[in-house]
């Protein structure tokens, strides 16, 4: 995998926005909905925010060999891997109480 540090930066930049949305949703609904938003709609919002606020930085990743499409897939993949156990544990916790 090329330039893991740069990819981690892209992931954290995009997730900063999606996490913000998820926290707000969690406060007003439940952590389950927050986790669901984080790995679905939140990713889209994060990508849109990155496109709006840091569009020029895409050329940083292009020069490293990463297209916009592959970067988006990376974020979706990581968020899905993170969210599934979080959602499962949350559902279990809610069921227990």
């Amino acid at each position: 995998m090329k330039n893991i540090g740069a990819l981690l930066k892209y992931y954290t930049d995009v997730s900063f926005y999606s996490l913000g949305i998820s926290v707000i949703v969690s406060i007003y609904t439940s952590i389950l909905w927050g986790g669901f938003i984080f790995c679905t709609l939140g990713v889209g919002i994060g990508l849109l925010c990155f496109q709006y606020f840091k569009k020029n930085e895409y050329y940083f990743y292009y020069n490293l060999g990463w297209t916009k499409w592959r970067l988006a897939l990376l974020v979706v993949g990581i968020n899905t891997v993170i969210s599934i156990p979080v959602l499962f544990i949350s559902a279990l916790f809610l069921w227990l109480i």
Partner: protein, 224 residues
């Protein structure tokens, strides 16, 4: 020696035709200067070669193998320096270098390059245009691409950095093929091997300032 050849490229924006079946080629060890008036398609040409703008038609090869521009980014065959800054603005120079170049020896080449020690603790957003352009060029030069596309590397930079960038480009052309566009023709012409002017939907070869004037890019009265 790598060889990039575009045999036919065409691009229109609505009713405006930028170029039609135009051709160019470049090998590593060469710098090709591209001139043209605003709106003639210089930046569009670079974006087409980099794959971020779709051409109406393009037939191109790298080392005899046909390439599709949409695969250029993934295969890291061509690097691109856009007109705007592409580096993370809030990161310090010493943080950006390892983000862009993973290998320690490549990082060292940038860290020990002239003038980098002076700016390594500054944030990218705080650098002067010359410092930033020089840093971007240093990073791209040490990336694996055999070809580089430079969009206005001399624009708005201080004279000190013009000299540094000219010397640096002359140095790296030994291992890269460079296509360079800029209006600052007096900074470009001394370092290029060949030059073209984008005019009348074609790439016209030019030899120097007199050709630029004869073909209407510069006011002709300067050369009477």
């Amino acid at each position: 020696m790598a060889h990039l050849k575009i045999q036919a490229v065409s691009k229109t924006f609505g009713a405006k035709r930028l170029f039609m079946d135009a051709s160019l080629e470049i090998k590593t060890g060469e710098i090709l200067g591209v001139f043209g008036r605003n709106g003639s398609g210089k930046s569009s040409l670079l974006k087409i070669l980099f794959g971020t703008l779709q051409a109406d038609r393009i037939v191109g090869t790298i080392d005899g193998k046909t390439f599709a521009p949409k695969h250029v980014i993934g295969q890291q065959q061509i690097g691109y320096l856009p007109q705007f800054s592409f580096l993370p603005q809030y990161k310090k120079v010493r943080q950006v270098i390892p983000l862009f170049l993973e290998a320690g020896e490549l990082q060292d080449k940038v860290f020990y390059a002239p003038r980098i020690a002076k700016i390594e603790n500054q944030r990218v957003g705080q650098l002067s245009i010359g410092e930033r352009r020089y840093l971007e060029l240093l990073l791209l030069a040490h990336a694996p691409h055999p070809f580089l596309l430079l969009d206005e590397p001399f624009s708005m930079i201080e004279p000190l950095y013009k000299d540094i960038i000219q010397a640096f480009l002359t140095d790296i052309k030994l291992r890269k093929g460079i296509i360079l566009t800029d209006h600052y023709f007096r900074d470009v012409l001394p370092i290029t091997n060949r030059n073209i002017l984008l005019k009348d939907e074609s790439f016209l070869p030019i030899l120097g300032e007199k050709d630029l004037a004869r073909l209407g890019y510069l006011p002709e009265k300067r050369f009477r």
